[in-house]
Symmetry: C2
Subunit: 398 residues, 2 copies
Amino acid sequence: MDYKFANRVQNLNPSAIREILKFTADPEVISLSAGNPAPEAFPVKDIAEISARVLAQRPFDALQYGTTEGYGPLRRRITDYMQKKHNIVREFDNILITSGAQQVVELAAKALCNPNDVVICEAPSFIGSLNSFRSLGSRLVGVPIQDDGMDINALESALKSNPNTKIIYTIPNFQNPSGITMSLEKRHMLYELARLYDVVIVEDNPYGDLRFEGEHIKAVKAFDEDGHVVYGGSFSKVLSPGIRVGYAIAHKTLLQKMTVCKQGEDVHTTMWSQIICDEYMGGCDFEAHLNDLRDIYRKKAKLMLSLIEEHLVPHGITYAPTQGGLFVWCRLPDGVDMPSFCKRAIIDYKVAVVPGNAFLVDENQPCQNFRLNFSTPTDDAMRKGVAKLGELAKEVIK
Amino acid sequence: MDYKFANRVQNLNPSAIREILKFTADPEVISLSAGNPAPEAFPVKDIAEISARVLAQRPFDALQYGTTEGYGPLRRRITDYMQKKHNIVREFDNILITSGAQQVVELAAKALCNPNDVVICEAPSFIGSLNSFRSLGSRLVGVPIQDDGMDINALESALKSNPNTKIIYTIPNFQNPSGITMSLEKRHMLYELARLYDVVIVEDNPYGDLRFEGEHIKAVKAFDEDGHVVYGGSFSKVLSPGIRVGYAIAHKTLLQKMTVCKQGEDVHTTMWSQIICDEYMGGCDFEAHLNDLRDIYRKKAKLMLSLIEEHLVPHGITYAPTQGGLFVWCRLPDGVDMPSFCKRAIIDYKVAVVPGNAFLVDENQPCQNFRLNFSTPTDDAMRKGVAKLGELAKEVIK
C-alpha cells in the first residue's frame, strides 16, 4: 500500500541521534552520545520499597484507571513544593501530570498551534521537542543561543517578522544540547517580550535541579502574573526516566485544553509511576537525594571538563560554560568539517558523539559543534573516549 | 491572557461522561456509567511478585530510558502470540508498544490525517477516540451501527461522498458503547471496501478477549495482505488499565511514522509496565487468566441482562445483543426524552448512566440510547441501580 501521509509528517524521520545510537550497540564503541541519567543516581531501594508497599496495601490505586489530570496526592504535593521552593503556581494556574515533560511540550503545541503557526526555539534545541512541533505542522524559527541564553535581539526580530508566532520554546537551565543557562536578565526580557507580542512561553525544565555550580536562577514561570508561561517539570532526571512522569503548570484555561488533548493521547499517566513519585517526595528525603545527584554529576562533569582541557582544547576545540545538567557543547575550529569529524570518531575511533546539526531547525545548516554527555559513561569510558577524540583532533586539526 | 487556541481544539471540551463522573463522587450515587474492569479481575498477587523480582534483580531495565518502539522481549512475545493465536503480524508488519490502545488511534490519525481529512467511524463510537480525531482536526463522519456491526451500505456511501477519507475506525468486538460485534461477513466487506477506496482501517480491539458467549470471530487484521489495517491491542481490560500498555500492529512503513510521532509525545511507554506485561504473559498462565476473566464478566453480564429483562423490558426498553465486553446498550421507546431520562436518573434516583448522544459525532443529534456498564458495580449495586431505573421507567414511560 502506498500511504498518503499527513503533510506534517511527510518529512519527519527518525532522528540522527537514533542512527548514532545504533552504532553504540557495538560493545567496542564508547558512547558519549547518550542522555541517560547515571545509573548510580536511581534510588532503587526506596522505589522497590514503595512499590512493594503500594502493591500490598492498595493495589487498585496503582492498577485501576485514574483521571487524566493525574493522581490527586501527587498534584497537590508538586503544587505545594513548587509554590514554596520556586514561587510557581499562582491562583490562576493548575497542574496536569504528564507522561514525561516531552508531553508538556506536545500538548501545549497541540492546544495552541494551527499548521504553519510559528514556534520560536533556541538554535540549537532538543530534537525531541523539535520533532514534536514538526509532527503538529508547526513552522520552526530558530534563535541563536549565546553563553547567557537566547539572543534576545534576534528573538525580538523573529517575533516582529512572524506575527503568527504562538510559542517561544526554551530550556532555560543547562539546555540540551548546549548545557547553557539563560541569565536572570534575559529571562525577564523574554517574559516581557512574550507579553508584548502576546505569545506563550513553554519553559521546559528537566535539568533545573541538576545545578552543581553557581547560583540558582529563578524560573521564567516565577515572573508570570497573567498566564503567559507553561512550565514543564520532570522526574526523569531526578528520580527515573523509565517511569515517564512529568507535569505541566499553566493557566487553568490553557491547561483544560491540554487535558482534553492528553485524554485523547494516553488517557492518563501510569498510576504506579505517579504513586512512586508522590511517595518518594513525601516519605524519603528528596532534598538530600537532589544533593546526592548534584555530587554525582559535579564529579562526572569535572572529570569531563578536565579531559576536554587536556585532550581537545590544545587542538583549538572550545566548549560552552557548563554549570549543571548532563551535556557539554564542544566547538571545532572553523574550517574543520564537523559531520566528517563525528563520522570518523565513530567509525575509526569507536567513540560516539552527537553532531550538532541534529539539533538545528534545518539540519543542513552549517554547524561546528558536537555534544558530549558525561552522565551515562563510566569514568573510565570518559577517559578513554575523550583521549581518542584527542587523537582524532590531532590528526585532522592542523 | 486571552489564548488563541488552535482551530482543532476550539470546540473540544471535557466529555459528557466526565461531567457525569463528577456526580458519581457522591457515595449515595450508584454508578452504572463507568468503564473500569472489575477489581476482582486484576491478578494483583502475580503483578506484585513480578514487580518485586524485577526491581530486585534488574532495576535499571525498569527505571532507565527505553526505546520508543518498546521493550524488545514484550514486542517479540506479543508478535509470537498474535501470529499463533490470531494469524496477525505478516512479514510486512511491525509492532509498536503504546501507552494504552488510545495512543494507537491517535498516532494513526497523526500520521495519516491532514486537517479536514475524513475519519469514518461507527455511530455511536468511543468518545475518547472521537476526541482524539477531533484534536487533530479530522472531520468525523458517522456510519450507523446495526446488530451485526457497521451498516456496510452506509459505509460505502460515506466513502463515495468523502474522497478525502483517510481512516475507517472500528471497534469490531463488543463495541464501546453498543456492545455490538461485527459479523465475519461484514469484516470481510469492510476490508474489501478499504482496499477499493484505498483507506486505512484502524481496528481497535480492547475487548476481544472478553467474549463470554458465542464463537470467536477473526480480526479484520487477519484478512490484511497489503497493509490496509492498523491493529490496536490493549492490556487494559485483560491485565490492568492503570499500567497503560497497548500496542499497534501495522505495516512497517506506516508504523515508522507512528513511532516518530510517539517519540514526540511521550518518548516511550513506562518500562515497569511493559516488563509486567511481558513477565505476566511469559511466567503466568495467561490463557487460564483470560478464562477467569470471561467467567467473571459472564456472571456479571448475565445478572445485568436478567435485571434489564425484569425491570426495563416491561416498560418497552430494548437492548442490543451482548456477547462480551463491559457494556449493554439500552434503547428507550420513541417519544421518551432520553437526555431528561438520564438526568432524572442521576438527580432523582441517584443512578448514573451515560446518555447515548455523548458517543455520537454530533452530540446534538437525536438519540434514544443510554449505556449501562456491568463490569465495575458490585452485584448488589447492579440490582439496586437497575431496579431504580425501572421505577423511573415506570414513571415516565406510559
